[in-house]
Each structure stands twice: as structure tokens, then as C-alpha cells.
């Protein structure tokens, strides 16, 4: 190697700019075309399901469009429902970069909501910026500890994170029930035990010009920030290396343990924020309504977005719109409320099946386009 001169190094083929762009587009297109095709295939399977039941798929999708996307009113409804999904999806997508499948975001959402409600009540009387900040911080700490612990158990004890996170979610819900029925209960809440309702001054209102609360803006910013973290920073790079091969990362001198715990804690903290916004903007109090499956829908969002934080934004909007149309579909078509769950399940299965297609199509191979140029 020492006597090698510059002239021995083969000069890189300078491809024309066009073919370079095509190669770049081909590489990116695979990650967009295949999930979209899977989405359409999933909808087709669901259409067959509806046909088998004697229902009209055309009517279903027409109602879905009307209830979730067709008007400013329904778009706002979709965005409102997409908001917790953004945070819940990040709770899956961040650990995924480290090769971890964390599916217990529901627990962090629930505890984040309870922590926010508790601090909103305890600090009542203080100026609202301070209280809202404290609520957010408490929610993030509660959620961060919960999922951070999952990461720590994974790294230091080799406890499977998929199972432990789901167990932790069940424990979190039991903890919420205990707190909401016991020490944090508002005696005035009779039928549905809840925490003390949040003072109006500490509620987080809508973004000007729309009916959707600030959680949406925070969620979108969080997605962009997570994308930057993963794609543009050395921590993100280290996480991807560790996700590919833990031993290689350790040989490189990367602190894999802190990396795993840190990413998981951040993921949980974001899920905790979802709970905080549910309490501060939607419910006004913490109760069993916090555990209505946002965490599980978030898993689907993250997998559909192929664990890409930026991809989570449109996918959350799509699933939010489908959920927003749920009521309309139930009433007009006489279908049970679980219809949306069935559709989600079918989409999830088909999208996972599409994983087998990556790398199979020559169209998406960048080299093909380079050579063509």
C-alpha cells in the first residue's frame, strides 16, 4: 500500500448528472413504492372482506374519504387523531434504529398523562407557563423512565424488550387505575374515576386558525427532530451501527448501553408527551380513556413508515383519518366499531409481508441506472 501512487488508484467513473439522479431516485423510490403498493393491497384484501359480508367497499372508501379527508372539518378531525399517533410511532421508531422492537408505548402514554394531571393539580395557583412546562417535564420523565427501563433491562439483563415493554404497559395501566381510584381521585368523579379536572388556565388550546391543539405542532417537530437525530448526528449514526451489529459497535468503542437506554428513554419521553396532550388538550383529566390503544396504533404507524420518523407524519395522518371516519362508517354501514381494527390489522399484515419484496426488483437497483447512464 505504501508504494501506491495516486495514478494507481482507479479513477472513479464520473457518471453523468442525470444517471446519478436516477440512481438516487431509484434507491429512494423502493422505500416509497413498496409500502404504497402494500397499502393498496391491504385495502384490496379488506375490500374482499367487506364483499364477503355483503357490504360495499366503494361506500366504505367513499365514507372514509368524507369522514377523514374530504373537508377541512374532517381533515382537522384526522389531524387531531393523528397527534397521539405521531408520538406513539416515535416510541417504536427510535428503538427500532437500535434493532429493538418496543411495543409498550401505551404504558408510557398512560403514565405521562397521569403525571401531567397530577402536577397540574399539585401546582395549581402558579403561573400557567410554569405549570404547563412542569406538566410536560413530568410526563416526559414518567414515560422516559418507563421505556428507558425496558432498554436497560434489554442491554444489561438481556430481557426481551418486546415482551417486557408490553408487560410494563399492563403494569402502567394497573398503576394508573390504582392512582386514579385512590390518591389522585377527584371525589366528584363518580361513574368514571378521574383525577381532578385541570384548571382552565393550564389547558393547552388550539393552534390559531384550526381546531387542533398544539400537540400536533409539537408532534410534527418531534418527528423532524428525531429524523435529524437519526440521520444527521453522530448519535444517530452510532445507534444505526449498534442496531446492525452490537459487537461491531462495541469493538468500535461505542457505548452501546447508554445509547440503548438513552434512545429508549427518549422514545418513552415522547410517548409520555402524547399522554400529557391528551390530558391538557383533549380530556382535561386523567382517567381510563388514556388507554384506548394509541400505543398499539402507533406500532402500525411506525412499521408502515418503515421506522422512518419523517414517514410517520403522513402515515399517522392517514391512520388518523381512517379513525376519524370510523363513527360515520359505523352509523351509515351498520358495521361494528371494531371494523377499523380489522382494517388496521389487515394493513399491518400485508405491509409486513411486503418486507420480502425489498431488493427483488431491478428497477430499484441504483447500479442499473448508473450503468445505463
Amino acid at each position: 500500500m505504501a508504494d501506491m501512487t495516486a495514478s494507481d488508484v482507479p479513477a472513479p467513473l464520473a457518471p453523468p448528472r442525470l444517471s446519478g439522479a436516477l440512481a438516487f431516485a431509484a434507491r429512494r423510490a423502493e422505500g416509497i413504492v413498496i409500502p404504497l403498493a402494500a397499502l393498496i393491497a391491504g385495502m384490496a384484501v379488506f375490500s374482499l372482506f367487506l364483499l364477503a359480508l355483503g357490504k360495499s367497499p366503494a361506500q366504505f372508501f367513499e365514507l372514509m374519504w368524507r369522514g377523514g379527508f374530504g373537508s377541512w372539518f374532517s381533515v382537522q378531525n384526522a389531524l387531531l387523531r393523528a397527534t397521539p399517533l405521531l408520538f406513539a410511532a416515535l416510541c417504536v421508531a427510535l428503538p427500532a434504529r437500535l434493532g429493538l422492537t418496543v411495543i409498550g408505548g401505551e404504558g408510557a402514554i398512560v403514565l405521562g398523562g397521569v403525571a401531567a394531571a397530577a402536577f397540574g393539580h399539585w401546582l395549581s395557583g402558579l403561573p400557567s407557563p410554569i405549570v404547563i412546562f412542569a406538566m410536560g417535564l413530568a410526563a416526559m420523565i414518567a414515560g422516559g423512565i418507563w421505556i428507558g427501563a425496558v432498554g436497560a433491562l434489554r442491554h444489561y439483563r438481556a430481557v426481551n424488550e418486546t415482551i417486557s415493554s408490553l408487560l410494563m404497559a399492563y403494569i402502567a395501566i394497573a398503576l394508573m387505575n390504582q392512582l386514579v381510584e385512590g390518591p389522585l381521585r377527584d371525589p366528584a368523579s363518580l361513574n368514571k374515576p378521574s383525577t381532578h379536572p385541570l384548571d382552565a388556565a393550564y389547558r393547552i388550546g388550539p393552534i390559531p386558525g384550526m381546531d387542533v391543539h398544539w400537540g400536533l405542532a409539537v408532534g410534527v417537530i418531534a418527528c423532524v427532530a428525531c429524523w435529524v437525530l437519526i440521520d444527521k448526528t453522530r448519535w444517530g449514526f452510532a445507534a444505526r451501527v449498534a442496531g446492525g451489529n452490537v459487537r461491531a459497535a462495541q469493538i468500535q468503542g461505542l457505548a452501546v448501553g447508554p445509547l440503548i437506554v438513552g434512545f429508549c428513554a427518549l422514545a418513552g419521553a415522547l410517548a409520555g408527551l402524547a399522554g400529557m396532550f391528551e390530558v391538557a388538550s383533549v380530556q382535561g383529566t386523567a382517567n381510563a380513556s388514556l388507554a384506548i390503544g394509541y400505543g398499539y396504533a402507533g406500532i402500525l404507524v411506525a412499521f408502515l413508515a418503515r421506522q422512518n420518523p419523517l414517514g410517520c407524519i403522513p402515515v399517522a395522518f392517514l391512520l388518523g383519518g381512517i379513525a376519524a371516519a370510523g363513527g360515520l362508517i359505523q352509523r351509515r354501514m351498520g358495521l361494528p366499531d371494531a371494523t377499523i381494527l380489522v382494517l388496521q390489522g389487515m394493513l399491518f399484515i400485508v405491509v409486513l409481508m411486503s418486507d420480502t419484496l425489498y431488493g427483488r426488483f431491478k428497477v430499484f437497483n441504483p447500479d442499473r441506472w448508473k450503468r445505463a447512464g
Partner: protein
């Protein structure tokens, strides 16, 4: 009062509760043990369990026979298992993720078709009163044992024996330990795993049938509290040994019975935390039995979850 046995009621209620509560754990964990021994993990058994509960209840309502319900649940559960096994047979498809998807799908479709069956009541599975020798009603209640529990116990022994002594048991173990050696022996790992997953699904659905047809004995959307998932953790704790699965299921059943047992003697503080006891126990057991340094003893070599 002659029948008042005071605090002795607590361990007795826990024993009775363990027998009652453990049955779904026994079936799901035995099924999952077979699937995992073949080198694949099916996290979707929670969905299979819920769908099995719905299917069993619906068929029992329609036919008037709880056993027809159990049979229907088995068929449906095997179908879910085949679906999981089929999807996982494609290259680069992750069995854990498919399990999560099937869990959500199974629960969704069970709620979808189960809506009309929340109201009607189905005939229950029969129980055998093994406590008739005693004059104490608490003992009689604790030893009123369902037929499925006894079947589960027999099945645990049978599977343990079959893994050791039969050709099928050997085939499943070989496929689970090394797909390459299995191929060298002329076996098809994909086919073996397909059947092992279908078998596991059928057993998990029996666990669901027990929930809706015996204890608690009704169908609603809160029928399962994660038994299907805990059973997966339990299999790891039991080191993939069917007899261990049975013992662990009894332990879990006892933990699940702790809350109601304490409530029956007047302890109501912390009810929800006692309700969480099985989850906490599962987690503690997983922490205690896992180790970062070595592979778990007895783990099938091909299993993604322990690699």
C-alpha cells in the same frame, strides 16, 4: 360459625384460583412451547386466544354444546397459526413483527364478529367436583376442577414424553436447533414450523375457549388480560419444557388469584396493584432468568428471541 376458616381461606382461595386461572396459561404456553421448539416465535397468540374465546362462545351459543365451541376455537386457532407460519415462510419477514400484527388483527376481528354475542349466554364447560369428600364449602369450591384443566395436565405430560421419545418430537427439536441440519436430513423446516405454529394456535384457542366458556365464563371485549402474551414469557421461564410450562402456569394462576383471594377476606387496599401481580411476577422472572453473557439453557438454537 362452623364454616369460618378465617385466614386459611386465603391459601385455599389461591389454590382454587390457581387451578381456575392457570388453565389458559397451560394451553397457551404448551402450544407456544411446541412452536418455539421448532425455532419460531408466535407473539400473536394473544390475538388467537381472544378470537378463540369469541369463536367458542359463539358456536356454543348457536349449537348449545360447549364442546362444539372448543372444537371451533381449535380450528380457528389452527387457522391463525397457519397464517402466521405461511407469512413467516417468506424470506426476510420478521416473525416477531408478524406476531404483533396478528395479535392486533385477531383481537380486531374477534371484536368485529363477537359484537352480537355479548348479550346471549352460552352453556358452560363441565367441572368435576373433586372436593366432595370435604364438608367445607371453601374446599369444595377450590377443588371444583374443570375438565380442560385435567386435559391440560395430561397434555403437558404427553408433550414432555413426546419430545423425548417420538420421531415427531425429534423432528421438531432438530428443526428448532438447526435448520441446516434439518435440511441435511431431508426435512423441510418451513413445513415443520408451519405445523408447529398451527398446533400452537389450536392450543392457544382452547385457552381462549376456557375463558369464555368457564372462567370467567362470558364473552366481552375485556375477556383477556394479556394471558396470551404472558404465556410467551412463561415458556422462556419454563425453558421450553412442557412440564415446566405446567408448573409455571400454576404459579401464574396463583399470582392472578392473589387479588381476588385477599379481597374475599376483606383486604381491598391496592386491589389494582394485586391485579398487576402476574405481570410483575412475569417481569421479575424474566429479569432473574435472563443473562446477557450466555444463551439460555435449553433454548432452541434457531429462535430469534434468544439470539
Amino acid at each position: 360459625m362452623e364454616n369460618d376458616i378465617g385466614l386459611w381461606g386465603v391459601p385455599l382461595a389461591i389454590l382454587g384460583g390457581a387451578i381456575r386461572v392457570s388453565t389458559p396459561f397451560i394451553f397457551v404456553s404448551l402450544g407456544e412451547a411446541v412452536t418455539e421448539r421448532s425455532g419460531r416465535i408466535n407473539l400473536g397468540l394473544e390475538g388467537t386466544l381472544v378470537f378463540g374465546a369469541m369463536a367458542a362462545y359463539a358456536i356454543a351459543v348457536e349449537t348449545g354444546s360447549p364442546w362444539a365451541g372448543v372444537l371451533a376455537a381449535m380450528v380457528a386457532g389452527a387457522g391463525f397459526g397457519l397464517l402466521h407460519g405461511w407469512i413467516c415462510s417468506f424470506p426476510r419477514v420478521n416473525d416477531i413483527a408478524v406476531g404483533i400484527a396478528l395479535m392486533l388483527f385477531g383481537i380486531g376481528i374477534a371484536f368485529f364478529f363477537g359484537k352480537p354475542y355479548i348479550q346471549p349466554s352460552a352453556p358452560n364447560l363441565p367441572a368435576i367436583p373433586l372436593g366432595d369428600w370435604s364438608s367445607l364449602p371453601q374446599v369444595r369450591a377450590a377443588l371444583n376442577v374443570n375438565v380442560l384443566f385435567l386435559l391440560g395436565a395430561v397434555l403437558a405430560v404427553a408433550l414432555w414424553w413426546a419430545f423425548k421419545n417420538t420421531k415427531i418430537g425429534l423432528i421438531v427439536r432438530v428443526v428448532g436447533d438447526s435448520a441446516d441440519s434439518a435440511r441435511a436430513m431431508g426435512l423441510s423446516p418451513t413445513a415443520v414450523r408451519l405445523f408447529a405454529t398451527a398446533f400452537g394456535g389450536a392450543l392457544a384457542a382452547i385457552g381462549g375457549a376456557y375463558l369464555s366458556l368457564y372462567y370467567p365464563g362470558s364473552w366481552n371485549e375485556r375477556i383477556s388480560s394479556g394471558q396470551g402474551l404472558m404465556a410467551v414469557a412463561l415458556v422462556i421461564f419454563a425453558r421450553w419444557n412442557p412440564l415446566g410450562c405446567f408448573a409455571a402456569a400454576m404459579l401464574f394462576g396463583g399470582a392472578g388469584a392473589l387479588g381476588p383471594a385477599l379481597q374475599s377476606v376483606g383486604v381491598t387496599q391496592g386491589y389494582y396493584l394485586f391485579y398487576a401481580a402476574p405481570y410483575i411476577l412475569t417481569l421479575l422472572i424474566m429479569i432473574a432468568t435472563s443473562s446477557p453473557g450466555r444463551q439460555l439453557a435449553g433454548a432452541p438454537g434457531e429462535l430469534s428471541i434468544t439470539k
